[in-house]
Symmetry: C2
């Protein structure tokens, strides 16, 4: 998505440790006009899939999911992060490892809102190693809901999570794939 790539080059900031800060338009301050275009793009890419729900994880995935769900006219379902060790029989639960924070957290989805009839589109702002997506896929599997696709706004291609999903046969659509980024040489996008 050309408009997104141009915005990343213009307003993204590289930090040490393979960090790309896009908090001026994606995950702190949000450019809703760009986000609306992102939602419409995901709709165009997955419109044949009869999606029933758009799923994400709080917090920064919510904005992406809302605008995507608006284009599909289906509900959003966002997994909640929890520290709770109490077992709750009413929720599906999974564990996600954050490489950025070097710690894991649990995500939960109410069993009421995920059924075997659901055809799920998973979306998120970033895809790196893919741990968050894998966590959501595990929850969908528990619920016998079908994951019909994954949409990432920015994929860090060099971290491998995306290619792993593609190898597993998942329809993954990333609107910008970064194959290399370096404080010296800048950002290289994958041609697609």
């Amino acid at each position: 998505m050309q408009r997104l790539k141009e915005r990343i080059l213009k307003d993204g900031h590289l930090r040490a440790g393979h960090l790309l800060k896009v908090d001026s338009f994606l995950n702190h301050q949000i450019d809703v006009s760009l986000l609306a275009a992102i939602g419409e793009r995901f709709h165009a890419l997955f419109q044949e899939q009869s999606i029933t729900k758009v799923m994400t994880i709080e917090a920064s995935g919510i904005a992406v999911a809302v605008m995507t769900a608006l284009a599909f006219d289906v509900p959003v379902l966002f997994a909640k992060k929890t520290q709770s060790i109490r077992v709750d029989p009413d929720v599906y639960e999974s564990e996600v490892f954050s490489y950025t924070k070097n710690s894991s957290y649990k995500i939960r989805v109410s069993k009421r809102y995920l059924t075997p009839q659901d055809r799920i589109l998973i979306v998120d702002d970033f895809l790196a190693r893919g741990s968050a997506v894998q966590g959501m896929m595990a929850i969908c599997k528990d619920a016998k809901a079908q994951v019909c696709g994954v949409g990432a706004v920015i994929e860090k291609g060099f971290q491998g999570g995306g290619d792993q999903l593609r190898a597993a046969g998942i329809q993954l659509e990333s609107l910008a794939i970064i194959d290399a980024m370096d404080l010296g040489t800048g950002i290289q996008f994958r041609e697609n």
Copy 2:
């Protein structure tokens, strides 16, 4: 907002301790069509205010803020919750007490995205004692940004935070105000 009140009566669930669960349409699963109507309603109520940014706190406020900002065609700015005790000179910080969780947390906003030129509309899914709104107002005051209004989807009128804001001269618009709720007698809305 009649459509919202009807939805609360139909799909909201009362729990002990003055809890109202609306996670089937507002803060876990999200009905984006209802949310779009909510965003348009806030736009109608505050359109004279020359709003430059819509502000909220992660996580469940984000969906409300995104749809409201879409109606205004301005950016969203969402405050991040943090456990960090490290002082960061680049952020405005404030403390919010959660009566539901009986604990406080810190919220942060980057100084880059809040300026004295900003005219802020604060929105959130719930307004109870008003601690989250007060925290955001404190951050806006630090930034010398002007708070031009507060929009709450559901106000728990009996908890007093809303009336306190009104008494302070803030334009507060709550789309449904609950004056009493009780497992036995149900939900009573304020006439407005």
